[in-house]
Amino acid sequence: MLSKLRESTGIHISAGLLLILTLLSIGLSRYYPASWWLTVTLVLLTIIKGQQITDVFMELKHAPGNWRFLLLAYAVVIPILLGGILYL
């Protein structure tokens, strides 16, 4: 019962965070002109969103071996790479 509650609570919190970060991304993108700090912020927000999906929704936080890191690599490395290509 307790772990069921914990599992569901984690999903609720993660979904709320994803929605807030999505709105924040759009807000920052609309109200601020293009700059390196804005790009870094948007990349960070995207990384957090990707991490939430892989760890909480995909349930890879406690996955064996390197599965978590393989999926997290996509959520972390690709946004950094894209930001780098566009603004460095």
Binding site: L18, L81, L86
Partner: protein, 204 residues
């Protein structure tokens, strides 16, 4: 009596924890397929970013013709849809197929909103005279988003199949690998869109 009940609850908790954690959810084959799909999308995204770097004015102009609110609606609906699918996995592990079915149908409803918003945006762009051959931006935009759109359609078919099976009480705590694999695929679709949203609608 109370102690016995508490001990039993702890044992059930441990069982559920073991069912959902400390192992790879779903099928190993599905995870390899997911990694392969993510790699293909990553190549598209890098290609998109490189093309933008080579021709920033073209991409800046192209982005202005897109509807930011469509990108926002698509992101919100996919996140909410993924949320309901994640909750459905929890319900299946509790042997509650009827609740899982309702959650899957809700997830499908939100996925339909995504499809509607995306199709509306495609129609608007085509009516304005933009298509795959207009310029590099539209070629990459249509190709990448349509490729993702096809993955959403496939994911919806998988979710619908899972909903049908939950209607027949097929899944249980001991038999939920297929359900977890289908859910993982849907979350992959969501993960890809998060990056697509960043690349196409957010960054400028």
């Amino acid at each position: 009596m109370t102690t016995c009940l508490a001990a039993n609850e702890v044992a059930v908790d441990a069982q559920i924890k073991q069912a959902g954690q400390g192992r790879l959810p779903g099928d190993l084959a599905m995870w390899f397929f997911i990694l392969m799909e993510l790699t293909v999308f990553a190549i598209f995204f890098i290609g998109f970013a490189v093309a933008e770097r080579l021709n920033p004015q073209l991409f800046s102009g192209g982005r202005e013709s897109l509807h930011v609110w469509v990108g926002l609606v698509c992101t919100l609906t996919l996140v909410i849809s993924s949320y309901f699918v994640a909750l459905a996995v929890v319900k299946v592990r509790e042997n509650n197929n009827p609740a899982a079915k309702k959650l899957l149908l809700t997830a499908l409803l939100f996925a339909c909103v995504y499809l509607g918003a995306k199709l509306w945006e495609y129609r608007q762009l085509i009516e304005l005279g933009y298509d795959l051959s207009t310029n590099t931006f539209y070629t990459l935009y249509f190709f990448t988003t349509a490729f993702h759109f096809m993955h959403v359609l496939l994911g919806m078919i998988i979710l619908a199949y899972m909903a049908l099976k939950t209607g027949k009480n097929v899944y249980s705590q001991q038999n939920c690998q297929g359900f977890e694999a289908g859910a993982a695929y849907w979350h992959m679709v969501d993960l890809v869109w998060i990056l697509l949203f960043f690349l196409v609608y957010v960054v400028h």
